[in-house]
Amino acid sequence: MKHRTRTVLAVASCTLALAACSTTDPDAAGTDSGDGGSDVETGAGVTDETIGIGMLTDLSGPFAAGAAVQVAETQGYWDRVNADGGICGRDIELQVQDHGYDPQKAVSLFRSMSSDVIALQQVLGGPTSAAVLPLAQQDGMYLGGHGWASVALEYENAQIPGTTYSVESANAVDYLVDELGLQEGDKIGVVYFVGDFGSDSLAGAQYAAAERGLEIVPVEITPRDTDLSAQVSALQEAGVQGVILGAAPAQLASLAGVMGSLGMDIPIIGNTPTFGPSLLETTAGPTLLENFYTTTSIAPYSSDEPGPQAAAELYEEVAPDGELGWEVPLAYAQGELLRDAIEGACEAGTLTPEGVVTAMRETSDLETQGLFATPLDYTEVTEPPTRTVYVSRADADAPGGLAVVDTFEGPSAASYGFE
């Protein structure tokens, strides 16, 4: 027993000693006079030849499938940037780590990675990015690809890829009134997951409904609820004229399937993460094709704008048999956002984590060739970079199952306030 204790102590002290040695390469920081990006100040993650960027994603947890799509597209994106000469005369090195949707693991991965990267391309997932955001803020490190929860607008270092869930839903209410014929006094059901996604969606819908003189019937669900019969019956009983959904594809399929079977012929509008193309093959397919809309920051896969087209083309090259969905243009767009910020830092002569954040915050009119509905403005921390969304409908013939109907910014989405 004593022997074992001693072994454990020995192993522990060795680990500690090793850990103490593994910090940043002292030569990495300092002033660089290498070729390419001449005379730029460099910091963590930057050498004469390479710029390291990190991606903390979920390759083993609940979002593994969608995450794999994003990893493939992101890797392809940076390979192409490197083939075109890189940034600041350096190649971009993407380091992908799996947090398995575990906030604790995400934090320790961030700790071990933060000295080797200039920025975080993505921290996938609400709870995981919520855990990493404040730490990245302390380190002054850029963090992108964290979804669309309004909470990101509290962080200077966070680059939200488009507008928030709340603005998506405020737009959904405006769209129901202005384009789909709902009247003052009508009721709208909001079916949502509690948390930084669904609750944000509800907040936007409630604000917009109050502005437009409608009433919200909130229905709280959890990811475990895949049979929404009772919830739909309650919505039918309340007499709603439209439904907004802040949940996941399994809930959308049940909601639409039950509504269809009850003959509830009313529009359903979902936030970005609610749709997946495989839903069109389920019993909910006909109802979705008839009544489903989605309000998204990012263009759907099938959009014919040059940005999403480039994303789709790249994806077909890197993952010919991959699943098609909104993850593809999103991953491409997140690559574009970070590239713009790193290029800005290079031009300003500060190729450091702080330099990337500063460059991102100086971006006031970023053109994305239709990846987002409007140019993006990141100069105000507490404001989303745009309030315009793509409105798309389910379409069996469109790759990825969604086809763009319009871009849209309603009056309540425009006036929604972030505290």
């Binding site: 609940p62 019969s229 309650a234 399937g257 009850l262 389920t282």
Partner: protein
């Protein structure tokens, strides 16, 4: 009134399906003394088999394979892991089952990905109407199948040698063993039965009004745990009644959430546990559980 009846019918049919799962928990517990926390992933494995096989071999053949597969999976878990632990602390076995659940669930999640795989059941999204109440055909059928299965279980346990042997083994393993009953067989039979019931429940839980097989289907087994506990850990009848109580209470709480707003939103989510706590306060061994011999 018809709204109330509709919600009641929803709750009853869902409760009967929960009962199928809860009975599986009871059978495994009485047959081998294991709290089977891997039940949810066995359920998902059965439903997954059906969903991936049905496009090629048709729904009925796929259902047969899925049910047999889940039964076999149960027998395998029992043969490889549980039997070797027979004399160990039941707590160890429960934790082991949690481990098995995580392993199975991770692999199934990887296979399913972000798809929702349709179950392809022939009754699709049809509904049946009676007395002004409209219920999805799949749910009506689920209720019917559950009732038939419960009757079959009663027959098995009351009238067949295997069933009597299983009950004897559950009541007192050592004595049963001395009487010539092979505990390894009754254990395997229990796990097979539980696996098959779970797969049947899984087929209904993943058919309309649910969209198809997604990893979340495995979580349904957790909804059956309060049913199992409030019925009494070791009572098949208790599990069925527990399922009905939980199903109806949940459906009513969700259906009347607007009226129950003082209790906050999302009340339906906690109702099963609330009911369980209330029942256990009054009857610590559950509704039908066998009482502890010694109580001080």
């Amino acid at each position: 009134m018809s709204y109330l009846l509709t919600q009641l019918a929803n709750g009853l049919s869902y409760g009967l399906v929960l009962g199928l799962i809860a009975v599986g928990f009871v059978i495994v517990f009485t047959a081998t003394g294991v709290l089977n926390f891997a039940h949810g992933s066995v359920l998902l494995a059965g439903a997954y088999l059906v969903a991936v096989l049905q496009p090629t071999v048709g729904f009925w053949a796929a259902a047969a394979v899925g049910i047999a597969g889940a039964a076999l999976l149960g027998v395998l878990i029992n043969a490889v892991l549980v039997r070797n632990l027979a004399e160990a602390n039941p707590g160890t076995a429960a934790i082991l089952m949690l481990g098995v659940d995580i392993l199975l669930l991770t692999e199934l999640t990887r296979r399913i990905g972000n798809r929702v795989i349709p179950m392809g059941a022939p009754w699709g999204a049809d509904r049946v109407e009676f007395a002004g109440v409209s219920l999805p055909t799949s749910r009506a059928l689920a209720a019917l199948v559950a009732v038939v299965l419960f009757a079959a279980l009663w027959f098995l346990f009351a009238r067949t040698r295997t069933g009597v042997a299983m009950r004897a083994a559950a009541a007192d393993g050592d004595t049963a063993s001395l009487m010539g009953i092979r505990l390894s067989r009754t254990g395997a039979a229990g796990w097979a039965l539980a696996g098959a019931l779970a797969a049947i429940a899984g087929i209904f839980l993943a058919s309309f009004p649910a969209p198809g097989v997604a990893p979340t289907v495995a979580l349904s087994a957790f909804a059956a745990i309060p049913a199992w506990v409030l019925g009494g850990f070791d009572s098949v009848v208790g599990a069925i009644v527990g399922g009905l109580v939980v199903g109806v209470a949940t459906a009513l709480a969700v259906g009347y959430e607007a009226e129950l707003h003082v209790l906050g939103s999302g009340f339906g989510e906690v109702v099963p546990y609330l009911v369980m706590i209330l029942v256990l306060l009054v009857r610590p061994s559950g509704l039908f559980g066998s009482k502890e011999a010694v109580r001080v």
